[in-house]
Symmetry: D2
Subunit: 334 residues, 4 copies
């Protein structure tokens, strides 16, 4: 990292900075200009040392040079991480399509939609068992019963299943029922949850927080990996901006950026990313153009009767059309 | 709420909407124009019913008319909520100043700073015992030992103490040690945590999430209140915007807005809200101009040796100056 | 529009609102609930009347029902607008690829790049003659000489040419030299400029402002159309968000939204939209997935010697690859 | 500036960068680590040279060290700039209060409100003569007639007057009538306009663009100063964020930041900054707490009959209360 000293900072302040760096195991490269001295520090950068330097007398600015993430970075591991889930592979160049309703609303209904999305082209199932919502007055999910239904649907269709977990106390039980555990956007920086997910041996799907920078998102993945679980799949699902026509602004540039900065696979959720079913298909196809490894799409038998997220859910017919176009596009890119 | 039908929507689609509203206990007011019919629905609006209507054929838009929050609203309770903490009152027109370091770093050091901030004008103590940070490679807090130190400092100085809790499993033990439990910005929509905090009988300080709208923030307060705990204090601490000179953009208009929409007290945290100690004093004084009930300020003996948040921490001398100016300003407003 | 009265607003306040509406030619539909009266006003909504109503006693909120734009809307004109430029058509289902350097830097250099991009697949040329930049210390463009070079390159290659105009005094002369006049993102709400562009009979390419909502952008198009020029092409080029890895966040959901709300063609500029050449190709392909009518791409012989925007410029080789993949993808979608 | 080379970048790439720097008059400081070389370049940084370096082989990143602005910076001029307008001084520690309606709507009405705001505590008058608005269907201002009215009101009250100018062709005539020329938020980066304003000898009030960073805003001031006019007053009026309760988010941290980075005076416009009259007073008082040199406030005899911006306009009575509290607060800070 680079420590920029103030103009005409006196010698003892420069020395103070150098001492502090050396105490922390940094090598030093000094660059003394006429007006300004610049100190290069080579070593293990942490937030703490940056903060400490920023408060020292004579320091104008501290400029990081290398990325703060290590294990998730391409510098650490060149080959892309490929994650095997049952007989599916995420990140191997194929297109994984995860589909299903926002929430598991009942056994028969879920089994039905699971079969429908399989026939329409889904390669994995999704469905929420725990649904705490913005309003305390809304439907909150079937919980354990929902997990049981997910497992049964998976057995019937042969498709692996992904579901969200929010409470660290629920990780163990959830991992018994499903193939991939999802961290929702609101929990992306719930470090207690991330740490616990680092201790299981199932893949984790990590959604981007609505106000998380690319760097903060990768750092959340780093949290899981450094806690022991290298199988992290990233999922772009829109960021919060000033635009109000869409629920979120789907940031598809995240796809090539993640591919450039990390070795992790990345999928895209155009349902939450737009909040409007009419935009789901074009944005799913856009995501494929951007190079993603998979899609996560909300599908419901009757969106107008869904207990949650109806406005962004596709009918099975619209989903079948999306899946077929998506595969055609993926092939055209190959 | 208002349901705007599409232009020339056929009669049976309008009737479908009316039926759905009536099934959900809404009264109906129909307004048929030449081109367009508008349906007014009077009743208990939930996210579900809005979502359901949005997916019905013929519906162009659903426009909420009344706020989604109830218990937190001024319509529900006209008089401002005043919260008693030991012998302090938050929301009674006085100015509460909560001060202390970001993290509790050790017993002697914390007792020392506690005495210093008391002498300088603080009316309450703050300090973090649990410090999970963006990077897994950073200092994570003293945990239970930190809680013990907080309690001791409170007993020595006679000042009540506030600290953050993140893990629902830690609420009970934390409530034994401190006077106010804080929900951090990253956990504002951690509904499991909010629900549990609704079951204790200590006040909760609810920080605004960096990408939370005013409405979402009030809904999070509603979550706690509707779970049984009416003692919620809101804390503005900056939102995420495109500006990078400051860590966050402190949205002081939240202060008069919260006062207009709810009966809850609101304080301001200019330390996290700016991320730079030089801006803390002017923004604290600005917050008082805006009408806040209190301030939360990070103070450290030696910011350049703080284990976290040094760059935004004041020295005890600067804090004393802030506290004295803050009180002068509050008096000038009275 | 809907006027929501305050709870228990007295009768004379409701009547005041009704009178005001009638004076302005609105029809009225009254919906009196027990707690609250809602007034529907059917007529020509303007910003003025909304503002006036918002300030009247007893009014809590005014909710627009129909879009503020008319001439640009699909309700006004169902068939998509197809714009003919020389022998090219924008908006007819084909893919137009506009390419060239950020700035015209000299005659020979521009003629050379014009031939190169034509061979690589460009269907139109782009290049800036006027380049006022953020810093007063930067290169400002060749001005009239640049326009002459653009025209010559167009004659040599047979490709139409597009260039930006900023100063209303320059519109006339620019229209003599080029085929499409571009409004830059910073001038999207320069209403003097828009009004003058409404008076010419050449197409206008209207870039989205970095902080413009979809609605404001369409209103800017409405400005040009209502001033007399119906040939408006919209261009998404990224909005300002908190993310800093990219210069802007390319909002591709604008593509299907514009297609849904208006009859105007829309192209995408992934060069300004990302600011990084590595992201240009994936985001161009994503834009095609989203359904755009064309691309605008910065290409330079030697990006490392460009006088402006080098970091986001492609080499002719990379551009050729992009153009070929782009056409393959467009075909796969057909 | 610092040029960070890629890991293991070969020697000839490092030399290429050094050559390029030397050609551009930079001094070089080389810092060769084991994995990575860092090049410090000391000289006149421009956007062009940064862009050029970013595109060179082997370069990973270019990190600016010093601010891009010079003439506006405190390093260039330590003492605060004080601007004399008639017998008023802006930036000398006093509080200037500019007040008046959004638009000049007619002679008698404006003279009346001018007298009212003077009596209520205004030290300067404001009023718009040119009012191009977001919608082409809205009131567009009285133009030259409006300027004449402004001048007459100024002569009658003895208060200097400020008005906005948008069209470069109108600068000369506007400067004949008013004391301060205002650049509106939408024109902050209209460089043609800024350049022309650099040639007059009247002060310029430069509003911050709704999506402008602090740095871009100061660079716009630099544009005016470097074109010959050092009398620039900055005006914070809110930035665009995701929050929708307020029209903009008033970024009051801009006040101490501008004071820290530049020698220019800064005022605050809480009317546009919030869009709601109820928030104007608390945010005006907050602005004073933050240390601003003045306020710009919209006042109208009857906000409910204003031709524009009624919802954010104060009545004369409310303005009188604001002005008196504002002065009390300013005194308490002294």
């Amino acid at each position: 990292m680079i420590i920029v000293m103030k103009r005409y900072a006196p010698k003892h302040e420069v020395e103070g900075v150098c001492d502090r760096l050396q105490e922390n195991g940094f090598q030093i490269h000094l660059s003394e200009g006429i007006e300004r001295t610049i100190v290069g520090g080579i070593g293990e950068r942490t937030n703490e040392i940056v903060d400490l330097l920023l408060t020292m007398p004579g320091v104008e600015n501290v400029v990081p040079i290398v990325q703060p993430f290590k294990l998730a970075s391409k510098e650490f591991k060149k080959e892309p991480t490929i994650i095997k889930v049952a007989s599916n592979f995420i990140g191997d160049g194929s297109l994984q399509i995860m589909a299903g309703p926002c929430a598991v609303e009942g056994r028969d209904k879920f089994i039905e939609i699971a079969k429908l999305v399989k026939d329409a082209g889904a390669t994995m199932l999704r469905g929420g068992a725990f649904k705490p919502r913005t309003s305390p007055y809304s439907f909150q999910g079937l919980e354990i019963e929902g997990l049981e239904i997910l497992k049964e649907a998976s057995q019937i269709t042969g498709l692996p299943v992904v579901t969200e977990v929010m409470d660290p106390r629920m990780i163990e039980v959830t991992a018994e029922y499903v193939d991939i555990l999802q961290v929702g956007a609101r929990n992306m920086q719930n470090f207690f949850l991330l740490r616990e997910l680092g201790k299981i041996n199932k893949p984790v799907l990590l959604k981007r927080g609505p106000s998380a920078t690319i760097e903060e998102w990768i750092m959340a993945a780093e949290y899981i990996i450094s806690s022991g679980n290298p199988e992290v799949i990233l999922c772009e699902r829109g960021i919060r901006t000033f635009e109000t026509y869409t629920r979120n602004t789907l940031d598809l540039s995240a796809v090539p950026l993640i591919k450039d900065l990390t070795h992790l696979p990345i999928i895209v959720d155009p349902s939450h990313g737009t909040g409007k079913w009419k935009l789901v298909k074009p944005m799913a196809l856009a995501a494929i153009g951007a190079g993603c490894d998979g899609l996560m799409v909300e599908v419901h038998q009757k969106p107008s009767e869904a207990l949650s997220d109806g406005p962004q859910s596709l009918t099975p017919e619209n989903f079948a059309d999306l899946a077929s176009k998506a595969n055609a596009l993926k092939n055209a890119l190959a």
